[in-house]
Symmetry: none
Subunit: 204 residues, 4 copies
DNA sequence: GATGAATGAGCGTTCATTCAT
DNA sequence: GATGAATGAACGCTCATTCAT
């Protein structure tokens, strides 16, 4: 292992520390209210150094989004692959989504914004993330359809309904304190949607 | 009609023209990327004039939100009051929501952002709009529950699911061209949710 | 008495009410922090009307200074003319100066500023006021010199010393509470200066 | 000498160059008519750089005042400490004051303004400078009183009279050309005041 | 004549980006 | 490579002045 590798390792380390600092701040305060200097400070480096790793603030923002959504997609895919049947796989996948909502709720609010204002490429990336996520859920639902448990409706609709409904966990203010429990919200959402497209006579 | 009315009318006119110009631009480019000068220009007035009507950019933004959401709430309430049964009232209400999404899709994306960054008061206002909207849908669902057609579940969950699911009409990119039709999306969403909480044996 | 006279009277009235409002505000907040709108409001007229009487803010400021200093000069001259001897006349004159300092202390601080920044003409006016005032005091002192009570020194020096020393009444902060009494300050100042130039052997 | 010292030195240098440029301009044109951009230009730096050293225009103004008055107080104290007797010490102190009046006459006019309009803290600072200056002169006069040469009057009055009378050197316009000589004005002022409070029979 | 709505030049301040060290 | 001092374009907001009514 020579100097270059050390350099490469340090680069990787620095890169990640900037991404994480930036993610934290963009998430908390939004794009415009986060200053490059703050990001550098939180990452423990000099202001100029950020520009050694990212060409501009927009670029950094883009990379933060890519980094975070990539992690999400990996976790989501893994969860959607585990489980003895489609119901369990669906449950696992949505658990991941809800966990991300909970842990990085602001980050996901960040994602929701219309980032065409920031960058057309970024917008396309985010649409793509949504398409992939939806496709995973659609595939799960199609399993249920093939198994004859679910009606063979256009799966894109219930898939998106499930994904959008997970956003309910973000609206604490809309629940009475004792009703609010992300886990049971998830179960109810899944129940309602699956029940809504269940073949009559088939059981929960 | 005397001078005062003329003055009041002109003021009202100007006020609305600024609100509209600002709504248009905030919607298209977001809060931070919209310049006061642009708003003035689009409204066909001088930069200083905007400040005769609004104390600051934040105030203007807040008023735009209030103006638009108030209009929405009025329309939404009216629609939710018309119809021969709860199913029709629900259909009417969601039609309004979807129409707003379609006509002002960007504006509604605007609403979604975490505006705590901009103003705490604004955030509270938006939470309140959400609460009122949800309550209207809950009331409709409770009619169905009283009628014995829907299971007596916590109505807040299906109510929010319906509202969040209307956002599907915003994601054209996720539909194949021929599948995308806001009206049928709405019908499917309502069907799925109502079906999902229907008392077994009761028919659509 | 025709319409014109009425108009002229109203004009005069308005003129004075603006001057007074402006004097009040310039005095309290300085030139730059006083807004034309505030002046109009305090004068009980419309903003545009001020411009019927004064071409600009600077012009108004100039006129305020002229108005106030003219009043001062009139009072000062009258006082300096009354009294059985030069000592009493000096006392009377300085009483007027001190009264103005007390009543319009801020206004006089206003005068002290270097108004070359505002207007060269204004500066010349103020120098002239100072010259006239000093000349009046010099004349009084020269009486005492002619009477053989005061040494025939250049009267401009003690005259200005007397005038400048009256400013002491503005510095309340520099006196212990019980020492501060404008009347006795005045007496002490006069005593010290007159004593300082008294012909030896002559009595107070 | 390491990097830090170089940095510190350069910072110190820049700091002083800004203070000097600002002092020059504030002095010549007043607070409100001096633009930050002009200050930067005169200091030979960019506009933004000024804000690396001073948080705001007010802060800069305050620091200019502090910087200049601190220098003055140092010089004034030193001068007031040198001299074989109180008369000489008084003479030395007032020479410093007059020199400052002459060299920075506009700056001292600046000081006179009622800066409560700009900042309450600044006003307090200036009152304090006045108090310190007056105290130094009072102490000198009290020497003369203890020595039995001066009457034991309240020393604050003659002390302030001396200080205020030094302002005479600012009013060139009030003197005929051949009468104007700061040095002899100073001597006459001191003579008159000291004579005015001299114990009868004691000699000049 | 009186008004006050409209104006826009002007300024203080911010912050992404650069570049000399 | 790393730094942070320096920069200046950009923008929100003010207010003296104008002018249509």
């Amino acid at each position: 292992m020579g100097k270059e590798d050390i350099g490469t390792d340090r680069k990787r380390e620095r890169y990640e520390s900037i991404i994480k600092a930036a993610g934290e701040l963009f998430t908390r305060k939004g794009f415009h209210d986060t200053k490059m200097e703050e990001i550098a400070e939180l990452a423990g480096i000099g202001k100029g150094t950020v520009y050694e790793y990212f060409r501009s603030k927009k670029d950094l923002f883009f990379d933060v989004i890519k980094y975070c959504t990539s992690n999400f997609l990996d976790d989501f895919k893994s969860a959607a692959a585990k489980g003895k049947d489609y119901r369990e796989r669906l449950d696992n996948a949505l658990s991941v989504l809800i966990r991300y909502f909970q842990e990085s709720s602001n980050f996901f609010k960040l994602l929701i914004k219309d980032h065409r204002e920031i960058d057309e490429k970024l917008y396309e990336w985010l649409v793509n993330v949504k398409i992939i996520t939806a496709k995973i859920v659609q595939d799960i639902l199609e399993e249920g359809m093939k198994a004859g448990e679910l009606k063979p409706v256009m799966p894109v609709i219930p898939a998106l309904m499930l994904l959008e409904s997970c956003r309910l966990v973000l609206f604490r203010e809309l629940f009475k304190e004792d009703e609010y429990d992300p886990e049971s919200i998830k179960v109810m959402v899944i129940d309602i949607v699956l029940n809504g497209i269940r073949v009559n006579g088939s059981r929960t």
